[in-house]
Symmetry: C2
Subunit: 537 residues, 2 copies
């Protein structure tokens, strides 16, 4: 029959090395900008593999990274799975306690870290006694003073290492990566990716109808590499030989715009917050961003106005996507079908502002509260269930597995509608829906509408308990600098699009909306704040 050849991560890098060895990786680092070719990067990656082996890392062991987006992190992306170990990318924005929990839960053997993470790790060093070595990802040639034991320089390891080929007998279903996702209650939950899931997901990113990642691209992953593998973009971009640009530590919107302009970035990916911030800077100081052919935006819903401004004012196709840590993440991409291109602009935009339709290889179901699949009419709401070769089947050694994974499906906890064309729209999280007088109100719809107001920078809507209606919506709004708007103005603005009983009872003006480490609204915290603020008034 057919050869039993596994889909593995080193196979991707070897392809790039042989066919695109001359192509370039451009990376901001902690001290400057580094340029290297895939040929050089592949050689260094094999050296990192063999250095890790010398440090005692064995097949199946977890190796953690606490790092920004840069070329050394890319090398770790391939070196760790390439030796049969598991790349555990740790969210550097978590609290030191959560970081310690994660390191211990994953049993990381070795940690690779950026210099600015030193204080965090020093603060928890006693709590993570099983970590055997710490590798500092820096351009510096001398080690800083530190109380971390066995702290070594990344570049010194590379210099001293022999170059050995990657492991040859990898099983495609063996673990290759790992990422923890925040939970509403309790500690973060771990998701383990396999070689197969990473490769198939990268392949999906190369499809003409999804992200179409190509050799001719210059790809800049802005979404952190500790956040679901930067949505798989570094894997796909490497495999297909794209030039890659990494914004490095503590980047700003200005730095991103510099890189786009100077390196002629064609595709980038990030959360709405990033693109909103980039837009603000862009509006003040016009830049040449015409090289961009696609901005991927996911993580949370992008306001229509954001999509429109990028497309109409700057001519940059802005593509809405949906996914989660449990889904590798790519699930939906919002691109019009060919026969939708002739629709009126407004109708097109209403499709585009949805989360999009399913990418190949995945299956979905939308299940109403009665347990039956809802009609695909864009109206009926239900919980989104997913299935596919890059969807998790469990949380790593975690009892909460049984809540989310049932009967072969992932229960996403997202309430959605699906229309006749298969476009899915996130209505809310099951836990963030507002139930007023027995009817659902979507906080997300109200938020998007508010953010379309010219004076509004960000808006979040949460529920407060109500004696008569059980729950009522309250809006929390951050205004743009130098802009003004009153409660009545905003409510009137919403009244055009929503029934009266959907309109928030209160509008609170804030300096900022509390967010999770990955930039999502922290609704739990916001609800507490709102309760307090309204109680006092």
């Amino acid at each position: 029959m057919m050869m039993n050849v596994p889909l593995t991560i080193p196979m991707m890098l070897e392809h790039a090395e042989r066919l695109f060895g001359k192509k370039e990786i451009v990376s901001r680092t902690d001290r400057g900008v580094k340029r290297l070719t895939y040929r050089e990067m592949a050689s260094r990656t094999r050296k990192l593999s063999s250095a890790l082996k010398k440090l005692g890392v064995q097949r199946g062991d977890r190796v953690g990274t606490l790092a920004w987006n840069h070329f050394r992190h890319l090398e770790a992306y391939f070196a760790i799975p390439g030796m049969g170990a598991v790349l555990h990318t740790i969210n550097i924005r978590l609290s030191p306690q959560q970081i310690a929990y994660i390191i211990n839960h994953a049993e990381d053997r070795v940690l690779l870290l950026d210099p600015d993470l030193l204080p965090v790790l020093e603060s928890i060093v006693e709590e993570i006694p099983k970590v055997r070595a710490f590798i500092l990802m820096t351009d510096e040639t001398t080690l800083p003073e530190s109380k971390l034991p066995n702290l070594v320089l990344y570049e010194e390891l590379i210099q001293q290492a022999e170059e050995e080929p990657f492991v040859k007998d990898l099983d495609e279903n063996a673990p290759a990566g790992m990422c923890y996702t925040s939970a509403t209650t309790g500690n973060p939950k771990g998701v383990v990716y396999t070689h197969r899931s990473v490769v198939l997901h990268a392949m999906a990113l190369g499809l003409a109808d999804t992200a179409a990642v190509s050799e001719s691209d210059t790809a800049m992953p802005v979404v952190p590499m500790f956040h679901v593998n930067a949505w798989g973009l570094p894997f796909a971009a490497t495999w297909f030989g794209s030039k890659q640009v990494f914004p490095g530590p503590k980047f700003t919107p200005q730095i991103l715009l510099d890189l786009i302009e100077q390196e002629k970035v064609t595709i980038s990916a990030g959360v709405p917050t990033i693109w909103l911030a980039v837009l603000q800077v862009l509006e003040k100081n016009p830049r040449d961003i015409s090289s961009l052919r696609t901005l991927l935006c996911g993580g949370s819903a992008a306001p229509k106005s954001l999509i429109q401004t990028f497309e109409e004012k700057y001519g940059v196709p802005f593509v809405h996507a949906y996914g989660m840590t449990e889904t590798s993440p790519l699930v939906f991409l919002s691109r019009l079908k060919s026969y939708q291109q002739d629709l009126p602009m407004e109708e097109k935009m209403s499709f585009r502002a949805k989360q999009g339709y399913l990418v190949p290889c995945l299956e979905m179901k939308v299940v109403g509260s009665d347990g039956k699949e809802v009609e695909p009419n864009g109206e009926e709401m239900g919980e989104l269930l997913l299935r596919g070769p890059w969807i998790a089947s469990e949380y790593y050694q975690d009892e909460r597995t049984k809540d989310a994974f049932r009967d072969g499906w992932l229960y996403t906890g997202d309430v959605v509608t699906v229309d006749e064309e298969g476009f899915v729209s996130i209505v809310d999280r099951t836990k963030d829906l507002i139930k007023s007088g027995g009817e659902w109100i979507s906080s997300v719809d109200l938020e998007n509408a508010l953010m379309a107001h010219p004076a509004v920078f960000e808006a979040a809507v949460v529920s407060v308990p109500h004696p008569k209606w059980q729950e009522r919506p309250v809006a929390c709004v951050v205004l743009k600098e130098g802009h003004q708007a009153t409660k009545d103005e905003l409510i009137e603005f919403l009244a055009k699009d929503f029934p009266k009983w959907w309109l928030p009872d209160h509008v609170l003006f804030l300096q900022e909306i509390p967010k999770t480490s990955v930039g999502k609204f922290l609704k739990r915290k916001l609800r507490e704040y709102v309760k307090e603020a309204l109680g006092e008034s």
Copy 2:
């Protein structure tokens, strides 16, 4: 970890049905032109599955097709694997004897056939007693007179069938398809495709840097659907929701041009002979073929002039590809890398005229006669070895497996060079097959047949270049002392055993055949001699 969800052929069709259900399939048939949607086609396909089950087809059974490119053949592409059986596409251009051999070797339970194949099957019906039923793929509503037992109408089966869901518990490594390829000696050899290999291969066709098959495409497979699954194009085009156009039985270059113009075909695939013929007609009667974004050309090497005429005169990108039955077939595609776009036109064309570079997921080696890998300098020759998830690991129940599959590699029998950029160029074949119009002609089979003639002492058959068919066979014959035979007599002698297009264009009578030291025909020398001899005449 990740869900254990298999990659299967019904998953592809279900994706198309849900998301692209409105999209259209346009097909010439034996009587007219048929249009139907993917939604209709999927429903009919499920009915065909259940009808086959009623005819006694079980999981794992082979079901043969003897058919041109049309929508019913497409339905069979999904219905047969969708019920867990094996789609065995039979080359309708083989001799009745070869067809009988293949049907028996594969143990086909049921055969689906086009009306024009009736005489062929009637001529071998006694030799294929294990076939339980024959299904006639026709628009006709009454059965023709025929001595085939259990002959039924395709459309009647569909009308009477219940619609049942596809099999759910398919193993991705289970057999899904089968195709026989001609051999230098002996009978054709069978290659078995799996669900996994078909899906991964289709996915590769959707990559932005390969064929980029997309929802926005109108795809017309011209390469026969009995020829390595029409290079996988019908699978990919269905999965990704392209509009599909099938040229039907006995199409002509005019018909192809009509379809391109009327249906606005964007991508098509075929052998050089087809595109040469299309070009000839096009040159006489200009047509609007501007909808084409890619012509894929493979099967044998396309002359540079063909590439240039399509691109320079008609503005149609013409992409050279390489593959074989054993490789599903996509292995190389000849597209320039981004940094090659600035090369002088002539240099670009010299890359483009090569077979191209490796598509993702595959591995290659080029091994010289010393068993070592050759330098990638575009000069050193070696045999091409391939490995990957859509490369065969064996011939179906065939002793010749051991010749071609060794140490985990497929030995292609093609002698190639590979350059610094990874572009591979076919230099020669280790064996001396003749490729006429994209189909193999076995020189050895013809030689053996000739040498069975009472007047023939020895005979060697070699190829000569041909403007339309690329290569045509020429026979060199040494007569026995005191015997006589004319060209016409010998050709007539061969005509009993071989299809018409196998018959040598010329018969040259020689005193002796040049031989190697071990007594093998020195074909290289013979080809030179023939070229000269024919040139002089």
